[in-house]
């Protein structure tokens, strides 16, 4: 009886999962697998396709633009801790029961729901040398002459980081808010009875219990930071010079714009390996802390 039920369950299960797994297979797993043989060829629209061994990887090591793009992608990781700290503070702030708090939550979430195209356009205007940001900062006496925030190779990458962070904070705030609301209330009451101050409560109760969320949010923001693309694509096209060229943008230029499919696949694999290694490191560090994410 039980065996029969198990067997019918299996048949149902696979029937249910078949369409979804087919799409995942073709568009998630196949690209990862297929990019390996592709990376070993010189496949492009021009000329005939040949097996070239590790030539693409050697070429990548000597490709200045690629190395710069990798470096920029690594630099971009700086934003990850900032995102966690600010969004946790925001989540604590909007976790209160003040009247009208839902309106504030919505306000903080608006940049998240808006398209990068719109966000990029607004900030491009605000940050131009005659823009509002320069005007306000000069009125406040913080800067003394106009800065071309996006047109200077010194500031452009950091400005893009700022925009990425500004757009994403609300998303992480919501995740942390969900985490905060899962913390049992009696823990706080006990702490208050014991005479703990607000800062002590945050440091001793809130943060430790949020750890699985911190891990999850750090991991997804890390991956998003390395994969960042839209900001550069709409705002700077990698410029000025190569100052905002990130690896995703460079892979896009090589693969989709110049049709160097083989080379782009090789570059993609290099980046994938780096992100894979970083995630393994994160998992290890997290396990040392004694928190199991799943």
């Amino acid at each position: 009886m039980r065996v029969k039920r198990l067997r019918s369950d299996a048949l149902t299960a696979w029937t249910f999962m078949a369409p979804g797994l087919l799409v995942v297979g073709v568009f998630v797993i196949f690209p990862i697998v297929y990019s390996v043989p592709l990376a070993l060829t010189n496949y492009s629209v021009l000329g005939e396709t040949k097996f070239v061994g590790f030539h693409n990887f050697e070429r990548a090591l000597g490709d200045r633009s690629f190395l710069i793009s990798l470096w920029n992608s690594m630099l971009y990781i700086i934003i990850v801790p900032f995102i966690q700290i600010i969004s946790i503070l925001m989540a604590i702030l909007v976790n209160s029961k003040l009247p009208g708090i839902k309106g504030f939550r919505t306000a903080f979430y608006i940049p998240v729901v808006t398209s990068m195209v719109a966000v990029a356009l607004i900030w491009n205007w605000l940050l131009s040398s005659n823009g509002v940001v320069n005007y306000v900062l000069m009125e406040l006496g913080i800067i003394h002459s106009k800065v071309g925030w996006l047109s200077s190779s010194k500031t452009a990458l950091y400005v893009l980081m700022f925009i990425t962070m500004w757009k994403g904070l609300g998303y992480y705030m919501m995740l942390y808010l969900a985490g905060l609301q899962a913390i049992p209330g009696d823990l706080y009451e006990a702490a208050v009875v014991d005479g703990a101050t607000r800062l002590q409560v945050i440091a001793r109760i809130t943060i430790p219990l949020l750890r699985p969320y911190v891990f999850f949010c750090s991991l997804i923001s890390l991956m998003a930071a390395i994969r960042v693309f839209d900001e550069m694509f709409v705002l700077t096209k990698g410029g000025p010079g190569t100052s905002t060229l990130t690896s995703s943008l460079y892979i896009y230029q090589q693969g989709i714009m110049q049709f160097n499919f083989g080379y782009a696949s090789a570059l993609g694999l290099v980046v994938s390996v780096i992100i894979g290694l970083l995630s393994i490191v994160m998992f290890k560090v997290n396990q040392k802390g004694g928190v199991n994410p799943y």
Binding site: D9, A10, W14, F16, M17, P19, G20, V23, V24, F27, P31, Y34, S35, L38, A39, L93, V94, I101, K102, F104, T106, A107, Y109, I110, V113, T114, S115, M116, V117, A118, L121, I122, W123, W125, N130, V132, Y135, W166, L169, G170, M174, L175, L177, A178, A182, I226, R227, D230, S247, S248, G255, I256, F261, S265, L267, G268, V271, S272, I275, G276
Partner: protein
């Protein structure tokens, strides 16, 4: 002895009253500080949009004039009517709706179908399937773009809306999220359906799906945002700009009329308002769904 017995409660009462007074004072102060912080943050997050709105309402204003016009000195809707006539917005909104609706329906059905057995049915290989799915989330696919392009070319789907939607028709993240929500549904519900002789498909559709509505709402909202705002993949797949969705058309408008600030501002506001409205009306389910899925 007797005296203290009388005054003790009185003393305690007055101490309590004092404490209450400082507590209310402290509460008022923390209210003020809290609201001040919230207001500052709200200005930081929404200020840029409000400024864009202000630019869109001032026809003929140059955003680069110095000092910049921050607040509207007069309000006119000229930019809106002009850009609406010029851009053929109904067409682009229609394109966006087609793409969004297709993506939304496919994602909801496919991920709910895939997640249900992973949470509720017992079969060999369940752990393996789930493990493989999760590991694809950890292995990032930077190369996917190139391979997707090749796959769609091979399937002759370049230039079609199916081609725009298909690569993201089911996301592993959604499967994961819905599996968590399905796990929160008691097994009795499925058993009662079995006893009544319902087919598994009917149990899934009529008993299970209503129980995981918050999870479905999260998936729907996330995918609505993703498809509504998607501009890169549609540009890659579609060759005819008249097929573009709104966000892609907007980059086009920006390139063509970079000097007509009012039009671009108005066009951007038009593209942003629907999604903000959708979020406003669904945020309750969204919050519920996120905490449900994380807890589950």
């Amino acid at each position: 002895m007797n005296k203290t017995a009388i005054t003790q409660p009185a003393l305690q009462r007055s101490v309590e009253r004092g404490a209450k007074r400082t507590r209310t004072a402290g509460k008022t102060l923390s209210y003020i500080v809290g609201y001040a912080l919230l207001a500052l943050l709200a200005l930081f997050m929404t200020g840029p949009f409000l400024w864009l709105l202000s630019v869109s309402l001032m026809p003929g204003k140059n955003v680069f004039s110095y000092p910049p016009a921050i607040f509207p000195t007069f309000v006119k809707l000229d930019n809106y009517t002009q850009v609406w006539d010029f851009m053929n917005f109904p067409k682009y909104i229609g394109n966006t709706l087609i793409i969004t609706a297709m993506g939304l329906v496919l994602n909801l059905i496919l991920s709910a179908l895939t997640a249900y057995p992973l949470a509720k049915l017992h079969f060999r290989g369940r752990g393996l399937v789930f493990g493989i799915l999760i590991s694809t989330m950890i292995i990032p696919s930077s190369t996917a773009l190139v391979v997707h392009y090749l796959t769609l070319r091979w399937l002759h789907l370049l230039g079609t809306y199916i081609g725009v939607v298909l690569p993201s028709a089911v996301s592993v993240f959604n499967i994961f999220l819905l599996r968590q929500t399905f796990m929160g549904v008691p097994d009795d519900i499925r058993d009662s359906g079995k006893i009544d002789g319902a087919s598994e498909l009917r149990i899934w559709w009529q008993l299970m799906l209503p129980m995981v509505k918050p999870g479905l709402a999260v998936v729907a909202l996330l995918e609505f945002m993703a498809y509504w705002n998607n501009f890169l993949w549609p540009i890659v797949v579609l060759d005819d700009p008249s097929q573009y969705p709104l966000a892609a058309a907007l980059t086009y408008l920006n390139g063509q009329f970079s000097y007509n600030f009012g039009w671009i501002a108005a066009g951007t506001i038009i593209s942003v308002v629907p999604i903000i409205l959708v979020f406003l009306f669904t945020q309750r389910y969204y919050m519920e769904g996120i905490s449900g899925a994380v807890k589950g």
